[in-house]
């Protein structure tokens, strides 16, 4: 049972997704292990670098969501230097961050996770990709998606310099003020984004929700786990991606804890398993009880499903309405169905678009001085944001010159790791019987973790149906019986 899987500490990219499934005498699943390569080598080589470099170093962990690391890092620097950025800087940051969320969520729905539903979970592998999606929804939609993502990326460049590895976040604010004409472009982009988000929800409604089979799959026990949920909320307990307190709800949807990011170590601890290089975060006050669900187990989830569960709704009108419909359809809060992540992601897309619209129309956006210069001596800083894939923690300790002595990062996918592992195990147990394995079953197992959109560079940016993945099946003597590879 102690099959060891080696994952390079620096590259995630050669680390394929790995699932090891162990069968018992009857050929049924004894246990399935899922591995996500982890990224934590960066924490070591940050040591000795000036903290001001962290918003440049950490995005290079991942070209998929560099903005999330850039923003968490920038917010950690605010805290490190105990500097409160002017309202204008916070608004610019959140507006740009919203544009990034829309872009990333759209990518996932149309290119990565969506094909499972839009094309169908049991459709041939060759069709479960963006081309299959376009075949189903039409080329015009494809043009719309491409056009929207292009416009958003251009807006991000305008404010943040670059999309991949942005350069605008500084302790106390942002590097560059926006001009009136920039603001107009943001307003136009946000208007388009709201329309795009509503349209995407309509696509989901027409193709997924009107199909009873799909709805059945979403609410099926195979894809359901009752766990705790984590998400950032604003002062009214509404979802916020950029700032706020961390709120946890229990498996019944009741508030379990609410705390400032700087207190996270009082609430979150990490569990080590001998078969994995990932440390599994869990709720300290509940404790690690193994890979089990329920209120007695400290396992929690992050990302869209979790965020909607952990908050009391959304702050913008259209998204609020969509969110109400979501909970009504799925039997009230909290929703424990992993596959509902896809729907929740689109609701968040609408929220991000509306939020971007609000901020773009704010007169503060063109403040010529969007920065407060830090004057305090640094010591320790914690920054938390909601990455598209869940809550992301950056924690730095420095000497009094601001040189990093210690860095700790808890990335979104890591926060979800325990629940993902349970999901894969449950799906494998539910689907693989008497040693029978085929491509359709493999996809159904994959669907269990794809819903989380694990930030697994190779995985998230390969088209579904061809996610680089190695699945190995071992018999009760630990002898490998099957190996399925998707390179």
């Amino acid at each position: 049972m102690s099959q060891k899987i080696v994952i390079d500490p620096i590259t995630r990219l050669e680390g394929h997704g790995k699932i090891d499934i162990f069968l018992n005498d009857q050929g049924d699943v004894e246990k399935a292990y899922f591995q996500v390569p982890e990224l934590r080598g960066f924490e070591k080589f940050a040591e000795g670098r000036p903290a001001e470099d962290m918003p440049q170093i950490t995005p290079r962990i991942c070209g998929v969501c560099p903005m999330a690391h850039h923003m968490a890092s920038t917010r950690a620097l605010d805290d490190l230097y105990k500097v409160d950025p002017p309202a204008s800087a916070k608004k610019i940051r959140e507006m740009v961050y919203s544009a990034f969320m829309i872009e990333d969520h759209a990518l996932h729905f149309y290119f990565l996770g969506g094909p499972d539903f839009v094309v169908g979970p049991t459709a041939p592998k060759a069709e479960r990709n963006i081309l299959g999606v376009l075949g189903k929804v039409g080329l015009e939609v494809g043009k719309k998606v491409i056009g929207m993502r292009k416009e958003l990326r251009e807006l991000i460049v305008l404010a943040a310099g670059k999309v991949i590895h942005p350069v605008f976040g500084l302790p106390g604010g942002v590097a560059k003020p926006l001009k009136k004409e920039d603001q107009e472009k943001f307003i136009e982009g946000a208007d388009n984004a709201v329309e795009f988000a509503e349209f995407s929800l309509q696509v989901f409604n027409d193709i997924v929700l009107k199909n009873k089979e799909y709805v059945k799959a979403i609410v099926s026990d195979t894809y359901t786990h009752k766990t705790y949920y984590m998400g950032l909320v604003d002062k009214n307990n509404k979802v916020n991606f950029y700032s706020g307190d961390i709120r946890m709800v229990d498996p019944n949807g009741k508030e379990f804890a609410k705390f400032a990011p700087r207190d996270y170590l009082e609430h979150v601890a990490e569990h080590v398993e001998p078969w994995s290089y990932i440390k599994f975060p869990f709720l300290k006050k509940v404790g690690w009880k193994g890979f089990i669900e329920g209120a007695d187990s400290g396992i929690f989830a992050v990302a869209p499903l979790a965020r909607l569960n952990a908050a009391d709704g959304l702050a913008t009108p259209k998204a609020r309405e969509a969110c109400d419909q979501y909970f009504k359809t799925l039997g009230g809060r909290p929703v424990h169905h992993t596959l509902a992540n896809h729907w929740a992601r689109l609701i968040e897309l609408l929220y991000a678009a509306e939020r971007m619209q609000e901020l773009a129309n704010d007169p503060d956006i063109i403040d010529p001085q969007p920065r407060t210069i830090p004057v305090n001596i640094p010591q320790e800083g914690i920054g938390v944001v909601e990455a598209p894939r869940g809550t992301l923690f950056h924690h730095y300790k420095t000497d009094n010159r601001g040189v990093i002595k210690k860095a700790n990062l808890i990335v979104a996918t890591q926060n979800n790791a325990a629940r993902i592992a349970m999901s894969v195990d449950k799906a494998a147990k539910g689907l693989i019987k008497k040693g029978k394995v085929n491509d359709g079953l493999l996809n159904m197992v994959e669907m269990a973790f794809r819903a989380y959109d694990p930030c697994h560079g190779c995985g998230t940016h390969s088209l579904p149906g061809q996610m680089p993945l190695i699945l190995r099946i071992y018999d009760n003597h630990g002898v490998m019986k099957h190996e399925i590879r998707r390179e």
């Binding site: 050669e14 070591k44 290079r60 070209g63 088209l463």
Partner: protein, 251 residues
């Protein structure tokens, strides 16, 4: 007509990633509006980011990332043996990039810090050029898609491939940006090869030199200016070291 040993026809192109963030590949895949035109110029036989088709038959290999494991070395050598032109794509491939910062720590310590007593196969971070012969280097963190497209067009048409010899500073001045050094930030724009459009200084962030040394750079002068501005030796060295792009060029 031949260029770099390639007939003037639709070349087969393969894109490969090693230790990196995949940002350079994404940069190529992301700009969908020119992707179709770009793809019509070449035949992509291996590009995991955008296609599942894989083939070992290619003329041009675009290689992203630095090299840090034994199996990566083997894989890179195989690619070199097959490719007629091997292009190091991006700062990690050309210089080691941010990954090389790992080399400042004893390897054992870095592994123990992350994985405790579990052993992992990892080595010193190397450039692609440290392992195999490289025909062309396209730097940038990430690469500029416009530049890569231009270069591929040049390969296809047999035109000469030229990089600007002058520094980022020239582009920045042409764009009428406020000088980042005047904003009291360290900027390597005066010594870094142009071609990026000075995107970082335009966003009021100092250049970190991801494109490597410009050909006629005056290092002594920049270092003197930075010293005069009161930046410590530690900070200047640290910036020069960021991507490992100036090692051996500046003391």
């Amino acid at each position: 007509m031949k260029y770099l040993g390639i007939d003037l026809k639709k070349p087969k192109i393969g894109v490969f990633d090693f230790t990196s963030c995949e940002g350079c590949e994404l940069q190529l895949a992301n700009k969908e509006e020119t992707l179709i035109d770009f793809l019509s110029l070449v035949e992509v036989v291996n590009f995991r980011e955008i296609s599942s088709d894989q083939s070992d038959n290619y003329d041009i290999a675009l290689v992203e990332g630095s090299i840090s494991r034994r199996d990566e070395i083997d894989r890179l050598k195989k690619i070199r043996a097959k490719a007629r032109v091997l292009v190091a794509l991006g700062t990690c491939a050309c210089f080691g990039g941010v990954n090389h910062l790992k080399n400042h720590f004893p390897l054992k310590e870095a592994v123990r810090e992350v994985y405790g007593e579990n052993s992992v196969d990892t080595g010193k971070v190397k450039r692609v050029g440290d392992i195999v012969e490289v025909d062309l280097e396209i730097p940038g963190c990430p690469v500029s898609k416009a530049e890569v497209e231009k270069i591929v067009v040049n390969i296809v048409t047999g035109a000469e491939i030229k990089f600007p010899k002058y520094p980022v500073c020239v582009e920045c001045k042409q764009n009428l940006n406020t000088c980042v050094l005047d904003l009291e930030k360290i900027c390597l724009g005066p010594i870094t090869r142009a071609g990026c459009g000075a995107v970082c200084p335009a966003a009021k962030a100092g250049c970190l030199g991801c494109r490597g040394p410009a050909e006629d750079a005056n290092y002594e002068s920049l270092i003197r200016i930075m010293q005069e501005k009161g930046f410590s030796e530690f900070l200047i060295k640290e910036k020069l070291d960021f991507y490992n792009a100036f090692s051996g060029v500046v003391a």
